[in-house]
Each structure stands twice: as structure tokens, then as C-alpha cells.
């Protein structure tokens, strides 16, 4: 029997009709008395509903409206959620700068459009819930953000942040000041940013500064120390450590991920291509969330390596300078010693062989400075004595 015979109606896409037919049939086959028939009826109903839903146009997303009130001088203004059908994130090819700007501008327009639409019962909501992290979204977002930032192959690619920060599900978070500050704090706590990435992030965040949103003491959150440092123009430091997972297992991990994405795509992938990059991110995130400790280990390992290399170079420079100074010192000392030798032994000092000079120097090296005064004294007396 096919499902329509079981339900007792002609095939239809009207869910209401399907439901009434199901309810009607269920009266005849009540589960208490006819469990088997009810089971068949129930499966038929489910399949019919699924068919009807799939034929509806558009993809119904389980989009949850944020309803998060934004902080505007303490007065809660709710953003009512509008169900947005997901934009296709897989835009082929790399987006040129101008398009990126326009995408950002579109985003801004979207946000400003959403804000003033408040609900009918605004007067009833007297409490400010902006501090509450509903659904754990903030925590989730920050976690994913830091995991992406810990991956050196993704960290400084602007396209990655372009995709990640513009996801629909997290769009509402950025209008909250407290959250943006938290985000900036997270960014400052991670290292490895390149200047262009920092500039991009700053521009993204400053898009959420509105007229009412006057910064405290004239400071935006993007004026934090780390941002300022990175934005210093033309400060080119040679890269001591290539931006990648240094340890062998880190490199293997990346290679493994790439291989999986290649398998999924069915071809060789290139991380400069937007589509492949998005695939890589989508594969990376769940794995990273499940193995946070491992990613953290790799990141710390890279940081350690970098600081070690940096320290090594600094040490080398330091020792070079020290060696230079000591060399110079010893040169000058040699002259001074020669001078004194001359005065002591007279012109014979020159005729002393290198060996003897060296021996003399070695002998007197330790006591030279302390003996200087004494020698001066002796010489004085000697000269005086000579004069006399």
C-alpha cells in the first residue's frame, strides 16, 4: 500500500490536509488498540509531510532570531530577527578588493536596516539582557575564532576572516559593545598577526560604530595597544619563523586536512581559491573543536619556536657586539700596555720578542689595572730619581 492509500486521500502538497487525514485515520486505528496499524499510519504521515515540505520553494532554515538587545546608552533596543535565506558562501574565485568593500557596505546596510524594527511589546521588556550569552553563541564564536587564528595557514588570509565574520548565525553578536571588546581582547592575546589582517579586522569592527555609540573618552576599542603596534606603517621585520606549524606532526596534520579536502573535492586544491578555502575551514573547525588541546599545543609550539629563534638571534647579536667590544678593548689595551712597557723598559721594549711581550702581557694582564697606579707611582719616582 502506498502512503496515500494509507492516509486515504489523493496525493497532495497541502500539509493541513495531510494532518487532518492522519488525525481522522488515527481515530479508527488508536495506538492503544491497533499498535501495528498505527505505526504504519504514522510512518506514512511522516513521509507525506517530508515530501510536501521538500517541494516548498526555498530552503527553510532553522534560523533563530537573536532578539538580543543592543546596548545603546543603557536603553535596550531589540533587533528583531528576520529569517534570511542563507547566502551561498561558496563564491567561486577570489573577491577583488572593491567587491569586498561593497560586501562590507551591504552588511552595514543590512544591520542598520534591522535595528529600528522593534516589536510591538517593547514597553514590556524592562530588563537588560545584553550581558547574557544566549545559546552560548558568544563563547562558541570566540572559540572558533581563536581556533582559526591559531592555524598559521589560515590566520593571515583575509578571505578566511571575510567568510567567517560574515556568517549569518553570528551577525547579531557584533552590535553588542561588550562582545566587540571581548573580541578585541582575544585578538590582542593571540600572536602572529600580519599588518594587513589587523587592518582588515579593525575596519570590520569600526563598521559597527554608530552615531549613538560614542566611544568612551574618545577611544574606540580598536585603539588597543596591539592594534596600534601592528598598524605602524613600514615597520618591516624579517620573518624569523615561517608562518606554519613548525613541528612535524603539525605539518602532517595540515597535510592530512588538505588531503581530505582534496578527496572531497575530487581534485587538487589550492588554498588561494575561495571555494577550496571554505571547504578547508569547514573541515578544520569541527576537528579543531574536538581537539582543542592539540591545536593549542601546536600553536604554543610555534610561539615557542619563534621566540626561541628570536632569542637566538638576539643572543647572537649580543655576543657579536660583546665580542666586538672586547676585541676593541683588547686592542686598545694592547696599545696602552705597549706604552707602559716602553716606559718601563725604554726603547728595548720594542725589541722584545712577540713571545716575551705576550708573556709579559699575560702576566700583567690580571693586575694591569690595579698595577697602573702603582706603576705610575714607580715611574714618577723613577723619573724624579732620574732627574735628580
Amino acid at each position: 500500500m502506498n502512503i496515500w492509500e494509507i492516509l486515504g486521500i489523493p496525493p497532495t502538497e497541502d500539509i493541513g490536509k495531510i494532518k487532518s487525514a492522519y488525525a481522522g485515520q488515527a481515530k479508527l486505528y488508536h495506538p492503544e488498540e491497533h499498535p501495528e496499524e498505527f505505526k504504519t499510519l504514522q510512518s506514512a504521515y511522516k513521509i507525506a509531510v517530508k515530501l510536501a515540505k521538500s517541494k516548498r520553494e526555498g530552503v527553510p532554515l532553522t534560523y533563530l532570531p537573536s532578539g538580543q538587545p543592543t546596548e545603546t546608552n543603557g536603553q535596550p533596543v531589540e533587533t528583531s530577527g528576520q529569517p534570511m535565506h542563507g547566502q551561498s558562501m561558496e563564491t567561486p574565485g577570489d573577491m577583488p578588493e572593491s567587491e569586498k568593500d561593497s560586501a562590507l557596505a551591504e552588511m552595514e546596510a543590512d544591520i542598520s536596516q534591522r535595528e529600528p524594527e522593534s516589536r510591538k511589546e517593547t514597553e514590556e521588556s524592562v530588563f537588560d539582557f545584553s550581558g547574557v550569552d544566549a545559546y552560548g553563541d558568544r563563547e562558541h564564536f570566540l572559540r572558533q575564532f581563536s581556533l582559526l587564528a591559531k592555524n598559521p595557514y589560515l590566520r593571515n588570509r583575509v578571505e578566511v576572516w571575510d567568510y567567517f565574520l560574515h556568517q549569518n548565525a553570528f551577525a547579531y553578536l557584533f552590535s553588542n559593545d561588550g562582545f566587540r571588546q571581548e573580541l578585541v581582547r582575544t585578538i590582542c592575546s593571540l600572536s602572529g598577526w600580519r599588518r594587513k589582517t589587523v587592518l582588515y579586522l579593525e575596519r570590520f569592527l569600526s563598521a559597527f560604530h554608530t552615531q549613538e555609540n560614542r566611544p568612551k573618552d574618545g577611544q574606540w576599542e580598536t585603539d588597543c595597544r596591539a592594534f596600534r603596534l601592528k598598524k605602524l606603517p613600514k615597520l618591516w621585520l624579517p620573518a624569523f619563523c615561517t608562518d606554519r606549524f613548525i613541528r612535524k606532526d603539525g605539518r602532517n596534520f595540515h597535510r592530512h586536512l588538505r588531503r581530505r579536502v582534496c578527496q572531497m573535492a575530487g581534485r587538487e586544491i589550492d588554498l588561494d581559491v575561495q571555494l577550496d578555502l571554505v571547504r578547508y575551514i569547514k573541515l578544520y573547525l569541527p576537528y579543531a573543536e574536538a581537539n582543542e588541546a592539540y591545536i593549542d599545543q601546536l600553536y604554543r609550539g610555534w610561539r615557542f619556536e619563534q621566540s626561541m629563534v628570536f632569542a637566538g638571534i638576539v643572543a647572537v647579536c649580543f655576543f657579536a657586539v660583546v665580542a666586538e667590544i672586547s676585541f676593541l678593548q683588547s686592542g686598545r689595551e694592547a696599545e696602552v700596555q705597549m706604552d707602559y712597557l716602553m716606559r718601563l723598559y725604554g726603547p728595548e721594549a720594542e725589541s722584545l720578542s712577540g713571545e716575551e711581550k705576550k708573556t709579559l702581557r699575560r702576566d700583567y694582564n690580571d693586575y694591569w689595572r690595579y698595577a697602573e697606579e702603582a706603576i705610575d707611582d714607580v715611574l714618577e719616582r723613577y723619573e724624579n730619581w732620574e732627574e735628580k
Binding site: K19, T62, E124, G131, V132
Partner: protein, 576 residues
């Protein structure tokens, strides 16, 4: 022979029955519908249940027990009256009292009941509930999920089709379910919740804030005082439902402390709690595959949902109307009553159908220790699913199927219901030998398992995992408990007043204690004399009013005014 429906809650329990074409809640001896789920042992070893026992939580905390619903199905034991009791035993006392009240109300013996459990209760806890019913002398064939009961009650008499979320925020648990109701069908789409989130968390929050504000160290406060502080915190919480700011005075060791709270501050310190409240909602919407447009409203049920911060938060979070249930404490009992009637196929409701779902996944463990679900969570009941498993090693001779209930990826972290093995498999290279495992789970919570492999066929029915507690043991325990009598109901009112006075004596300031002691002794005096029923009632009422005033901290004493309590009839006699 009516089937009653019982809501066995963490803080309060109720019973309801379908009679005369509608649902009727069964009042207890005080005439109230709510019976606190508290059990206390009296001096003579008698068992006190309900309001009387609740008072003794403060005065005799060592032998009084509350909130034992959480420990159902665990081996946690309560020590009282020289013996150990499990949460099942304590619940059975409460159920027994409810049964006696029902029998008194209906005028006929009651032997069968349908009891409600949180949707998230696993098999252990469900079995424990059934056992508790059995120990109370009730046959419990079916358990109903609490949110499903609420859904039934709400759809009762409603003609239109609607899809709604039920947010059951009780004393200790949160249950969220998505319900699709149309015509005579009430279909549960998805269920989620938090077993450890409830009104009590807000009480603890207020208490923590109190300790912080008054710079008190929790370790320096005795258990009894902690109990008093929690109780004051709860009272403060209820005051916050009526006004935005509230304050109470707490007396610890003859020193006065202030407990203050506003709703906004409560939100600030309770950020974590609100976040935890939102998670099950998202899970439920995602699991059901519905979009927000399809959901019509959210119904708030449960004692703690009366808090304005909770309803405001949900209003802010979701874009749908939030409806506070008319009688949040009683909805579940009403729903369970309807469910009992449906089971009975009582006249009016015989067409209603509740299509509930399996709140947990049921499955087995595969070679690498991970969980392989056979029946997925949120599958409609009754359901039956089959999966095929193959051998992983060459010449493998045995396949063991441990049966787990839960959703954890690691099989061992879930609840083990039992184990079945297929032995003497034909020795063949790996992958060639397979076994088909069929799970059937029905609305009575009975799991039917069939395994077919080649020639062999195994069959097992798991309905009461704790069948390990054999029938004989169960009967023995039943006998033991039957010997213990519940306190008689005649003087319950008097007993209650005395216990309450006792508790207030402990809690209030020394200045009020004097007067309270005088009142109590006067009351006792009246009762010990041979006075008629009317005088007794009057004395009870007087004492009750007095106690109420003391409780609300509103009693303002200038001096002990004898004339205030003078018996009016004395004056009349004088006139004559």
C-alpha cells in the same frame, strides 16, 4: 476503578482524576491540591508527609528529607530513624499519602496510576519511579513525560492546529519540548532539557550574593543556618515576582543581616543560568527541523516560570508570544490525569492520541568503543528500527551487543541496560558474517530486542532493568514499608501548626520569641482542656494568623498586649 494521574514533582506533588467529563484535582487533608514532596520521621517513628514535614526541615533537619526526586534511580541512601532509605522509598511514602487522599476523595479504592517523569529521566530513574509506585500499592504501567502532559492539557478543548514550545521550569529541572497539536493528535516533535537547572539555582544565587554582600564566610555558617538562608532567599525570590526590588532580614546567631536583590541585579549575577536556559530551546528547534515561523507560541509551565526575569528573557530571546500557563503548578497533574483517562479509554477522551517520542538514543557499542545508535533520539514512539552489524576480525566467533541508552559518543559513558551475545558464529573472514539487530521501543518504556544472525535468533525484553532487585526482594521491602504507618490525618492541622510555630521560634529574633512561646503554650493549654470542636478551630485560626504575621516579618511589637488575645466571650460573660 479509576486510574489516577500523579505529578510527582521535586518540590510538590499532586494527583488528578478524570471525572464527570473533566479533570479534577484531588485535594489533600488541608484542602489544598499541592502536597510538598517532603518526608520526615516523627519522634515515635511515624512518617510525616507534606506540609507538616516541610516545617520539620528546619526544626529537625536530620530526619527530614526533601528534593529526593533527583536521587531516584541512584544508590544514594538517606539515613533516618535508625535505618537507610533510598529515594524510591521516600517517594513511595509520598505516593502512599496521595493514594490515601485519592481514596478519601473518590470513595473507592485506587490501585492504578499513571505517574509523570521528566522527559530526560533515563531508564534507571523511570524504573525507580515505577517501583516507588509499586511500594505504595499502585500499579504503574505507564509513565508519561511531564512536557507531554502539559501539551495534553493545553490542547484539551482547543480546536485549532498549533505548534508550540513548552518550557517547563521547575524547582530542580528544566524540560523543553516542541509540540505539534492538531485535531485530536498531540505529537511531540523534539525534547531536550537540563537535569540540573531549576528554581533552586536562583535560590543558591541569591544566597551566594548574600554571603558576598555581608562578607560572610560560608564555611563559618552551620548547616541549619545555611538552610535558613536558603529559605529566606527563596522567599526573596518570590517577592521579586511581585515587585522589582525586595529586601529581607535574616537573623544569624542573634545578629541581623540584610538580604537585598533587584531583578536586574539577579540577571547580572545569573548570566550563566540564562545561557543554560537558552541551550535546550535551540537544541529542540534544531532537532525538530522546524523554523521559527512555524512555531506559534511558547508556554511557560512550572513553579519557577512565574519569575518575571524568566518570562522576559524568553520574550527577548524568541520572537514569539510567551504565554504563562494559567496554573503553572497544576498543569502537569491535569495533563497526567488526561493521560490516565486516555489509557483507560474513558469516554470523552478516547479519541485523543498522544504521540510521544523517545528522549534518548538506544544502541550498542562497536569495536572502537563508540556508540552506534539504533533508535535515534526524538524518534516517535512506538518505533522499531533495524541495523546490521558485521564482524571485524577474521574467524570471529562471537559478537557481543551491550545495550546502551544515551547520547554520548563514547558508548561506555551511556547507561547500560543489558548485554546480549551471539556466539558460535561460522568462522569466516571478517565482514562476511553479519547480525541484524532490531530494537522496538514502546510508549510503556518496554524495549524489545531481537537479534538474527544466520540460523540463530535471540529475543529479549527489557522492561525493568532493576529486575536485579528480584521480585522476592521487592515483596519483602513492600511488607516492611507497609508496616510503617503514615501519620493519621485527624490531627494533621494541629500538628502542622505546632511544627510551624516550632520552626518560626527557631528563626525569629529573641524579642519575638517570648511572645511566640507564650502563644504556643496558650494554644497547647487550650487543646489539652476538654474544649469543643469550635473552640479548637478558633484556637487554630488564631495561632495560624499569628504565625502568618510573624512569618512575613510584619509583626511590630510594642509590648506584650494581653488584651489583644483576650477571649471575647469572657467580656460577654462579664457584661451579663
Amino acid at each position: 476503578m479509576a486510574v489516577i494521574g500523579i505529578d510527582l514533582g521535586t518540590t510538590n506533588s499532586l494527583a488528578g482524576v478524570w471525572r464527570n467529563g473533566r479533570i479534577e484535582l484531588i485535594p489533600n487533608t488541608f484542602g489544598e491540591y499541592l502536597t510538598p514532596s517532603v518526608v520526615s520521621f516523627g519522634e515515635d517513628g511515624e512518617i510525616l508527609v507534606g506540609k507538616v514535614a516541610k516545617e520539620r526541615l528546619i526544626t529537625a533537619p536530620a530526619v527530614s528529607f526533601a528534593e529526593f526526586k533527583r536521587n531516584m534511580g541512584t544508590s544514594y541512601q538517606y539515613f533516618g530513624n535508625g535505618k537507610y532509605y533510598t529515594a524510591e522509598d521516600l517517594s513511595s511514602f509520598v505516593l502512599r499519602r496521595l493514594r490515601e487522599d485519592a481514596e478519601a476523595y473518590l470513595g473507592e479504592p485506587v490501585t492504578e496510576a499513571v505517574i509523570s517523569v521528566p522527559a530526560y529521566f533515563n531508564d534507571d530513574k523511570r524504573c525507580a519511579t515505577k517501583n516507588a509506585g509499586k511500594l505504595a500499592g499502585l500499579t504503574v504501567e505507564r509513565l508519561i513525560n511531564e512536557p507531554s502532559a502539559v501539551a495534553l492539557k493545553h490542547h484539551m478543548g482547543v480546536e485549532d492546529a498549533e505548534t508550540f514550545i513548552i518550557f517547563d521550569f521547575g524547582g530542580g529541572t528544566l524540560d523543553v519540548s516542541l509540540v505539534d497539536a492538531f485535531d485530536n493528535m498531540v505529537e511531540i516533535q523534539a525534547v531536550s532539557g537540563d537535569n540540573n537547572l531549576g528554581g533552586k539555582d536562583f535560590n543558591e544565587l541569591i544566597a551566594e550574593d548574600f554571603y558576598r554582600e555581608n562578607h560572610l564566610d560560608k564555611a563559618m555558617v552551620t548547616g541549619e543556618e545555611q538552610g535558613i538562608i536558603l529559605k529566606e532567599a527563596e522567599a526573596l525570590k518570590w517577592e521579586l515576582s511581585r515587585q522589582d526590588e525586595a529586601e529581607r532580614t535574616v537573623y544569624i546567631r542573634n545578629q541581623e543581616y540584610r538580604m537585598r536583590m533587584t531583578n536586574q541585579h539577579l540577571i547580572h549575577i545569573g548570566k550563566e543560568l540564562f545561557k543554560r536556559m537558552s541551550m535546550p530551546i535551540r537544541r529542540v528547534i534544531n532537532d525538530s527541523g522546524m523554523s521559527m515561523e512555524e512555531i506559534d507560541k511558547l508556554i511557560l509551565v512550572g513553579g519557577s516560570s512565574k519569575m518575571p526575569v524568566v518570562s522576559q528573557y524568553l520574550k527577548t530571546l524568541l520572537d514569539i508570544p510567551v504565554v504563562l500557563d494559567g496554573s503553572p503548578d497544576e498543569s502537569i497533574a491535569a495533563g497526567v490525569g488526561i493521560a490516565a483517562a486516555i489509557k483507560e479509554r474513558a469516554g470523552d477522551v478516547k479519541d485523543m492520541i498522544l504521540a510521544d517520542i523517545c528522549p534518548f538514543s538506544l544502541g550498542t557499542e562497536i569495536y572502537d568503543g563508540s556508540f552506534s545508535p539504533i533508535i535515534e533520539r526524538n524518534d516517535t514512539l512506538p518505533c522499531s528500527r533495524t541495523r546490521e552489524y558485521v564482524t571485524v576480525e577474521d574467524y570471529q566467533s562471537e559478537m557481543t551487543f551491550p545495550i546502551y541508552q544515551g547520547d554520548n559518543m563514547v558508548a561506555r559513558e551511556n547507561l547500560l541496560l543489558g548485554t546480549m551475545s551471539v556466539t558460535e558464529l561460522p568462522l569466516e573472514p571478517k565482514g562476511k558474517v553479519s547480525a541484524r539487530v532490531t530494537f522496538m521501543y514502546d510508549i510503556n518504556g518496554i524495549l524489545d530486542i531481537r537479534i538474527v544472525s544466520g540460523e540463530q535468533a535471540l529475543h529479549r525484553v527489557i522492561m525493568n532493568k532493576k529486575m536485579g532487585l528480584s521480585e522476592a526482594e521487592l515483596e519483602a521491602r513492600l511488607e516492611e514499608l507497609r508496616k510503617m504507618t503514615l501519620s493519621s490525618v485527624e490531627d494533621e492541622n494541629v500538628r502542622y501548626l505546632l511544627e510551624r510555630a516550632n520552626r518560626l521560634y527557631q528563626e525569629c529574633t529573641p524579642s519575638v520569641r517570648e511572645y511566640l512561646a507564650a502563644q504556643i503554650s496558650r494554644f497547647r493549654q487550650i487543646l489539652s482542656c476538654e474544649v469543643n470542636a469550635r473552640a479548637r478551630r478558633e484556637a487554630c485560626v488564631q495561632l495560624a494568623v499569628y504565625l502568618e504575621a510573624v512569618e512575613r516579618n510584619k509583626f511590630d511589637f510594642d509590648g506584650f498586649d494581653e488584651s489583644f488575645f483576650r477571649d471575647d466571650r469572657e467580656d460577654e460573660d462579664e457584661d451579663v
